[in-house]
């Protein structure tokens, strides 16, 4: 009895220690923390951008459901309200304020920013050429536009710069604000202060947009029917979390209700029901603590998904409680079933061991989580639970549950052929499956609902926000060297654009030239007297009014002594753009220069490699993510195969007979094959999540088979053992079956796979794993 109390005391101390560790655990949700260690600098920088860069802060907003003038009024109202909200760095809807800050900044700093500012430009010949060009422009349809800026900017730096930094064509407009081409939606772009991975910040920003819109709708006449649509990475994250929470809470309430009903029917004791949760709860706590200690942080996916992986440990308590005979002490029942339970837990643990070696930090975390969780749960079941079970407890309802299974067991000799036939048919279906079994489409793995993806695509198209795919990427030791390298790369990219190998490009130095270049431009500007003399010579004979260009002389004189432009001086839209291209990452700087409309990736890659800047690479985001998915899939399959072999090895060591190992392995293999055939019925594809599901089928199903293999002759014990397996399986099928109704692909795929597979393991195991003598 003393030893038993000691076990409970050790358990309580362990729980306290784990709780202390867990309370200090860092939770990370960014995908970069889930990716392989071996990811390239470019991959890391790009995933970093995806979780916190300018693109991740973007919210695309559309207002629809009212006549265009009303929508335009709503757009103006919404933009002005959001611009006052510090949660938004920048709000653009096409009105004058949208571009005002950029225009003002560019105008004030045009002689430092423009690549047109060279010594040649300010010679008599250079000025003459500029002025002659101005005369031509004044006569053209752009004349009125040119005229306004001409006296202060006869060399046309503003026009050059706005062509470079402006928003391009932009969407069509109504009453001066952006609209979709059909006039049905007013469009806005907002950049949030919160990065994309900050789901709480994104949720607040989204709520602020909705609230501002609602207030505007109440003010603008005739806009009662208008509605708000919003998309973007942050919006997706918020939606996914909402769906996940809704699904998980709804489905887990249903699953819990189902399991509680089943277990109450079997146990008829609420106390025992509650005790059944101790192994899995302790296991999860210890698992989080272990991952936190080993990795320094726990990933959100690990946390959410790990509990699913150790769901098997709920079965441990079921096996114990259900198999206690009438009048039998719990400790005696435990001692009887422990060898089987230990071997079952060991098979699962070695199955997950393979994951520890994965290059994906996420897999490795999940592996450690499962191993620690299952071992802890098994130990709690073995050493703690028997002490807490009320004396004289026996599960009265298990006999009824066992009946259908016992009927199957009785007829197993005839059913063997049916199982063999099913496995054969499944194997044939898998072999003849057309178009490959694997789903290579990343979008199918995305938890973003298809309707959200379609809305996002249509708003991006309407707003002219490019979904960037190609980047020229290189590293540098500091911000200034990165800008200098970016300037050195400019001619090469201009050459590619002229040869139509790329449609366009952006570089951080176009927004913010290096300090050296800015200084060179300052020194290229002549002194006031010299400039006036040259200008008088250059403008001789041209039809300009006298004294027209005084503002120009003043601007050049001011620019010669102006402080150089720093990153901190950039207005929000340009600062966002700069941050997305010039990224400071651990120990260095990375330049990510977007290339638009790449027609010949191989040609571009070759040209970049030959450029004077060292180490420039062409990165194809689609290719990178597809490659990542392939590695992910290959890793998952490798882990599943290694895990399967490890399970066989443990079974061989535990059972010491090839025949007995085969009796366990055959029903599991048949169950996995038939499940795979069902899942790929009618040309459907297997997802990476289903492979994880296969491993779970084997982990959970091997326990069933081991108990079948050790069914005893004693009728009562046999019925209770069969009852415990049925009960465990019904709880598993209820939980995972309900999960398959989730809208989140991960949950749906695993739920479906495990529900089908474990039920098949039950039936196939009963038929194939039960020894002949136990009839």
């Amino acid at each position: 009895m003393r030893a038993n109390r000691a076990a409970v005391a050790v358990w309580l101390v362990g729980v306290a220690v784990c709780a202390a560790v867990v309370s200090r655990t860092v939770l990370r949700t960014d995908m970069a923390a889930f990716l392989p260690h071996s990811a390239t600098l470019a991959q890391q920088a790009l995933t970093g951008q995806a979780s916190q860069g300018a693109a991740s802060r973007l919210i695309l907003v559309a207002i629809a459901g009212a006549p265009p003038p009303r929508l335009a009024a709503l757009s103006r109202d919404l933009a002005s309200r959001l611009r006052e909200n510090p949660a938004f760095i920048d709000v653009a809807n096409g009105d004058e304020t949208s571009l005002g800050a950029v225009q003002h900044f560019v105008w004030a700093n045009r002689y430092l920013l423009s690549g047109g500012v060279t010594a040649d430009r300010f010679t008599v010949a250079g000025l003459r050429a500029a002025l002659e060009n101005d005369v031509g422009l004044l006569g053209s349809d752009m004349g009125d536009v040119v005229q306004a800026s001409l006296p202060a900017d006869p060399t046309g730096e503003m026009l050059t710069l706005m062509g470079q930094l402006g928003p391009g064509a932009g969407p069509a407009g109504v009453d001066g604000v952006w609209f979709s081409a059909d006039g049905g939606r007013a469009l806005l772009l907002a950049h949030t202060a919160a990065p994309g991975f900050d789901i709480e910040g994104q949720r607040r920003a989204l709520a602020a947009i909705q609230a501002a819109f609602d207030r505007g709708r109440a003010v603008v006449a005739g806009a009662a029917g208008a509605r708000l649509l919003a998309t973007g990475p942050g919006v997706f994250a918020v939606h996914i979390q909402a769906i996940t929470e809704a699904d998980v809470s709804r489905l887990s309430i249903l699953a819990t209700a189902g399991a509680v009903c089943l277990l109450l029917f079997a146990y008829r004791s609420p106390r025992v029901l509650a005790l059944g949760l101790l192994p899995v709860a302790t296991g999860a706590l210890a698992a989080v603590a272990a991952v936190s200690l080993a990795f320094g942080y726990v990933h959100g996916v690990t946390l959410g998904f790990g509990v699913t992986l150790i769901g098997e440990s709920l079965d441990y308590a079921i096996y114990l409680f259900t198999q206690i005979g009438p009048g039998e002490p719990a400790g005696a029942a435990m001692a009887r079933i422990w060898p089987t339970l230990r071997l079952g837990a060991a098979t699962s643990v070695v199955g997950f061991c393979a994951m520890l070696g994965s290059r994906f930090v996420g897999f490795a975390q999940l592996g450690l989580f499962s191993i620690v969780g299952l071992i802890t749960a098994a130990c709690v079941t073995r050493y703690v639970l028997p002490n807490l079970v009320p004396a004289g407890f026996s599960a009265p309802g298990s006999g009824i549950l066992a009946r259908p299974l016992l009927a199957v067991i009785a007829r197993r000799a005839r059913l063997r052929w049916l199982v063999a036939l099913a496995a054969l048919a499944a194997g044939l279906a898998l072999v003849t499956h057309r178009g490959g079994l694997w789903d290579g489409n990343l979008a199918d793995l995305s938890p973003v609902p298809a309707a959200d993806q379609a809305l996002d695509a249509s708003l991006r198209h309407a707003l002219g926000v490019p979904d960037l795919r190609y980047f020229a990427v290189f590293g540098a030791g500091g911000a200034q060297p990165a800008l200098a390298a970016s300037e050195a790369l400019t001619p090469a990219l201009q050459g590619l654009a002229a040869r139509h190998l790329i449609g366009g490009f952006d570089l951080p130095s176009l927004t913010l030239p290096s300090r050296r270049t800015q200084s060179l431009r300052q020194s290229a500007l002549p002194g006031d007297a010299s400039l006036r003399a040259r200008f008088a010579q250059a403008s001789a004979g041209l039809p300009f009014r006298p004294h027209l260009f005084e503002p120009f002389f003043a601007a050049v004189a001011a620019a010669r002594v102006a402080p150089l432009v720093r990153e901190a001086d950039l207005p929000p839209p340009l600062a966002l753009r700069e941050e997305s291209m010039l990224v400071s990452a651990a120990g260095g700087w990375t330049v990510l220069a977007p290339l638009r409309a790449v027609t010949d990736p191989a040609g571009v890659a070759a040209a970049l490699a030959a450029s004077p800047v060292h180490g420039v690479e062409l990165v194809d985001l689609d290719h990178e993510s597809a490659a990542l998915l392939l590695v992910f899939q290959a890793d998952a399959c490798k882990l599943a195969v290694i895990g399967g072999l490890a399970i066989l090895a443990v079974l061989a060591a535990g059972l010491r007979s090839p025949g007995r190992v085969a009796a366990i392995a055959a029903p599991l293999a048949a169950a996995v094959m038939v499940t795979a055939a069902v899942l790929t019925w009618h040309g459907a594809k297997l997802s990476i999540f289903m492979v994880v599901g296969f491993l779970l089928i084997v982990a959970v199903g091997s326990n069933y088979c081991l108990f079948f293999a050790r069914l005893e002759h004693d009728t009562g014990r046999r019925a209770r053992a069969a009852g415990s397996i049925v009960l465990a399986n019904l709880c598993t099928v209820a939980a995972y079956g309900l999960m398959s109704f989730s809208r989140i692909p991960v949950l749906h795929d695993i739920g479906m796979t495990v529900a089908i597979g474990t039920f098949l393991s039950l039936v196939f195991g009963a038929v194939l794993a039960t020894p002949a003598r136990a009839a």
């Binding site: 096409g94 060009n133 005369v135 031509g136 422009l137 004044l138 006569g139 053209s140 349809d141 752009m142 004349g143 009125d144 536009v145 005229q147 001409l150 006296p151 062509g163 391009g168 064509a169 932009g170 969407p171 069509a172 407009g173 109504v174 009453d175 001066g176 609209f179 039809p543 300009f544 009014r545 006298p546 027209l548």
Partner: protein
């Protein structure tokens, strides 16, 4: 100041009274006639006076129109340039460096306000014309004129009025007075006109 003084032009535009016209022929009939034109081509000569210039600038080139909302102005002298309006989108390609600018007519009230009045007149789209301008018609089938005063404050900041004159379903001249006093006169000689 161009060929005519501003006042002379304005006077001519305003004095041309409905008494010229035959009874029963008015703005709706003019618009209906213009709406019949499927496509048209013309040569033009434009004289511009601008505040920044001490002498007027002359430009010549061709105009092409296809119903209902496509129009292209190709300037040949002094500097080659192509200006295309397609639906609501304007593309300007300047001949010297081939630089192309694309923007929507709505986005740019200065240029959009001008082209909208011209293309709506060419298309004979009276409702659209009246949405954007105060329209004054005078004359008859042989000789008519429209004075368009923009209604949108964003446009009136740049354009005071336009006067379009013509005969039958052809346009002979477009005079534009900017809010800042700049002034443009474009005389048009249609070479090809094809009706529906």
């Amino acid at each position: 100041m161009g060929f005519f003084s501003k006042k002379q032009v304005l006077l001519a535009c305003f004095l041309a009274s409905p008494a010229f016209g035959q009874t029963g022929w008015g703005l709706p009939q003019l618009m209906a006639g213009l709406a019949q034109v499927k496509s048209a081509s013309a040569r033009f000569t434009e004289m511009k006076t601008m505040a920044v210039l001490s002498a007027p600038l002359a430009a010549t080139g061709t105009l092409d129109y296809a119903a209902p909302d496509w129009m292209e102005k190709t300037t040949v002298t002094p500097v080659p340039e192509r200006f295309t309006l397609d639906g609501g989108q304007i593309t300007i390609t300047s001949g010297q460096d081939g630089r192309t600018q694309v923007f929507s007519a709505q986005q740019n009230p200065l240029i959009g306000g001008l082209t909208e009045g011209i293309v709506d007149t060419l298309a004979g789209n009276l409702p659209a014309l009246r949405r954007a301008y105060d329209v004054q018609f005078s004359g008859g089938p042989g000789e008519w004129q429209l004075v368009l005063r923009p209604l949108d404050p964003a446009v009136t900041r740049f354009i005071a009025w336009m006067c379009i004159r013509g005969g039958g379903n052809r346009i002979a001249s477009i005079v534009t007075e900017s809010a800042n006093g700049d002034h443009s006169e474009m005389s048009i000689a249609e070479t090809v006109t094809s009706a529906r």
